[in-house]
């Protein structure tokens, strides 16, 4: 069973890595968008999937990262890839500051507050807050990234940058979900009171997962800004947050393969239905309902954690 899925995943990886060789520019660019959504999805997954917190305002953190990159790049000419840590820092810090007073809110109350946060950030960007975001038109003229003096411009080149980042993210979040931190998040998702009773500082862990998710989304913002070279507040609307939230639950929450599959569905399905132009979003909405009815847990749900007990050499047991 396990080897079976390993073969599938490695075949998929090899196929994906070679895909720019036989796909045209348009489809490579579609894959690039899939990659960006996959990383954003992974960063949100730690909040929604693992900690079970409703976050419908992830675009706000993404926006903070993207605007940090755009402002520092256009004003101080710092190369965009060097700005990655700064984007992570600013988005993470922003999350830490704004989420701190409201982290204790439960379920749907947290949900509306994150929606509100996303809207406040978007409106602040439109209103040119601090005079640095240049209003509704956004910031343009952001540099392309360059690695060792080679400038990355074409979709084929971006493909390897973005999917390389996806690989790093998968590694990072895989390690994170199997760590003490990841287990603590799962515990508080399943039963907050019991987790608190077992000595897990619930508020601290909730805040930490928001900060990590936000920081990671901030770095995606940097890549996004340099890929588009122009960013405007409309790229970070409530709709983006909804898409990210949806892709996690369609693919399978708290499951890395699920989230990546979700990214393919969310970006891919509307592309596939492009032939029927106007009705494509209608079908997309219908498909969302149908998928939830037929695969309630998402397409590739996460499996329960398994532990091999030390004294039982042959048997596996559920913890």
């Amino acid at each position: 069973m396990r080897d079976h899925s390993k073969i599938i995943y490695s075949t998929m990886t090899v196929l994906l890595a070679m895909s720019p060789l036989f796909l045209n520019k348009y489809w490579v660019d579609v894959l690039n968008n899939v990659g960006l959504y996959a990383i954003l999805g992974l960063s949100l997954n730690i909040i929604v999937g693992h900690a079970g917190l409703f976050n419908l305002g992830h675009a706000a953190f993404y926006a903070v990262g993207a605007y940090t990159a755009a402002i520092f790049n256009t004003r101080f000419n710092i190369p965009v890839l060097w700005l990655l840590p700064l984007c992570a820092l600013s988005a993470g810090l922003f999350a830490a500051i704004v989420m701190r007073p409201i982290i204790h809110l439960r379920g749907d109350y947290l949900c509306i507050v994150t929606i509100g946060l996303g809207e406040i950030v978007r409106i602040a960007l439109i209103n040119d807050i601090f005079g640095i975001t240049q209003g509704a038109n956004g910031i343009f003229g952001i540099d392309r990234p360059s690695i060792f003096g080679i400038s990355i411009r074409r979709p084929h080149e971006f493909f390897y940058l973005i999917w390389g980042f996806v690989a790093v993210s998968v590694f990072f979040f895989h390690r994170l979900e199997n760590s003490r931190f990841g287990r603590a998040l799962n515990y508080l998702r399943e039963d907050e009171v019991a987790a608190e009773g077992s000595g897990i500082n619930v508020a601290h862990y909730k805040l930490a997962c928001f900060v990590i998710g936000a920081a990671w989304a901030g770095m995606v913002g940097d890549i996004f800004a340099s890929k588009m070279t122009i960013i405007s507040p409309e790229s970070f609307s409530f709709w983006e947050s909804v898409l990210l939230f949806t892709l996690i639950l369609l693919g399978g929450s708290a499951s890395i393969p699920g989230v990546i599959l979700g990214a393919f569905l969310i970006v891919g399905l509307p592309e596939v239905f492009r032939g029927i132009a106007n009705a494509r979003m209608l079908i997309f909405g219908g498909a969302m309902i149908a998928m939830m009815i037929f695969r309630t847990e998402g397409i590739l749900p996460s499996r329960p954690r398994r532990y091999v007990l030390p004294d039982e050499s042959s048997g596996e047991s559920r913890a």
């Binding site: 809110l105 109350y109 949900c111 929606i115 009171v193 009705a279 209608l282 909405g285 309902i289």
Partner: protein
């Protein structure tokens, strides 16, 4: 001071509309613990259906303006209620036993579905309500200019909300709704047909949303297919502000949000109008984490 009262009445009219939509959110949430994200779209459907009936039937020629509007409202509410019941049947009932988040995604899917269905049927462009359905007279109350439309909206929504309050608190079915909201399992054991209660909630909520849709059409004269998103979000904010699941809370939250928005737009900045509502919401939730009228639920272990 005149300016202040003018803004206050504007805020009250919009707030009454928010309150009507918020009631739909809060009632569904009370019974199913589900945020019905498609509710904003039911509101849009109400306002488009109102437009269709208004232009095709020509009621006001036969019955005179006020009676025609009442008839129109009854028809719109009935039709949207049917759409709401169908929505519950197809998108939510199969997910009754599944994790809460799956139902939320189904609701988001339904919202996208409805929004695009309206776009395909009526087109993506702004639609305009015919002028002169209601006489454009205004009442002058101590120097405050009150258009008839706003007065009508205020009266109608107060009437609807009072009726709803009495229905929920004085009738058998209302009692059943309250019981199912407190504990569905126990309600079932007491012989309450919970499926019927849910159906009733999905008839009342969308009907109120549809009425609100018609009101927006009459008040602003123009509608578009994405407006459900904005009004839905505001109304959901109002429901949370009052304490979700709490019916008087939704009414208070809606009115309060409308007034705050109008005042914020007038005295602080119109460009920040939408942000002000959310800032107030966050501030209130920091102080009262379960909304203004939401009761504190002690966690039982």
């Amino acid at each position: 001071m005149e300016e202040f009262f003018q803004q206050l009445t504007n805020g009250l009219a919009v707030g009454a509309i928010y309150a009507l939509i918020a009631l739909g959110y809060t009632m569904v949430y009370g019974v199913l613990k589900l945020i019905n994200f498609a509710h904003g779209e039911l509101f849009t459907i109400g306002s488009y259906l109102g437009l269709t009936l208004l232009t095709s039937l020509g009621l006001s020629d036969v019955f005179g303006p006020v009676l025609a509007i009442l008839l129109l409202a009854a028809m719109v509410m009935g039709l949207v209620a049917v759409v709401g019941a169908l929505l519950e049947r197809t998108a939510y009932r199969p997910l009754r036993e599944s994790p809460r988040l799956s139902a939320v995604v189904s609701a988001l899917g339904a919202s996208i579905f409805f929004q695009n269905a309206v776009m395909l049927i009526y087109g993506a462009r702004l639609r305009v309500y015919p002028l002169g359905i209601l006489p454009r007279t205004a009442v002058n109350l101590f120097g405050i200019y009150l258009p008839l439309v706003k007065l009508l909206i205020l009266f109608a929504s107060v009437a609807i909300m009072t009726a709803l309050y009495l229905y929920i608190h004085k009738t058998r079915i209302g009692t059943a709704i309250r019981a199912a909201a407190i504990d569905q399992g126990a309600a079932r054991l007491m012989g309450i047909d919970v499926d019927r209660v849910i159906l009733i909630v999905f008839l009342i909520g969308p009907a109120l949303g549809g009425a609100a849709g018609l009101m927006v059409g009459l008040l602003y004269g123009q509608i578009n297919f994405t407006m459900g998103w904005v009004y839905g979000l505001k109304a959901f904010t109002a429901a949370i502000l009052g304490g979700i699941g709490n019916i008087p809370g939704a009414m208070v939250g809606g009115i309060l949000l409308g007034v705050i928005e109008a005042m914020g737009a007038a005295y602080i900045s119109i460009a920040w109008k939408d942000a002000i509502a959310f800032v107030v919401l966050i501030l209130i939730l920091i102080v009262r984490p379960t909304g203004l009228l939401g009761e504190r639920v002690a966690e039982k272990v």
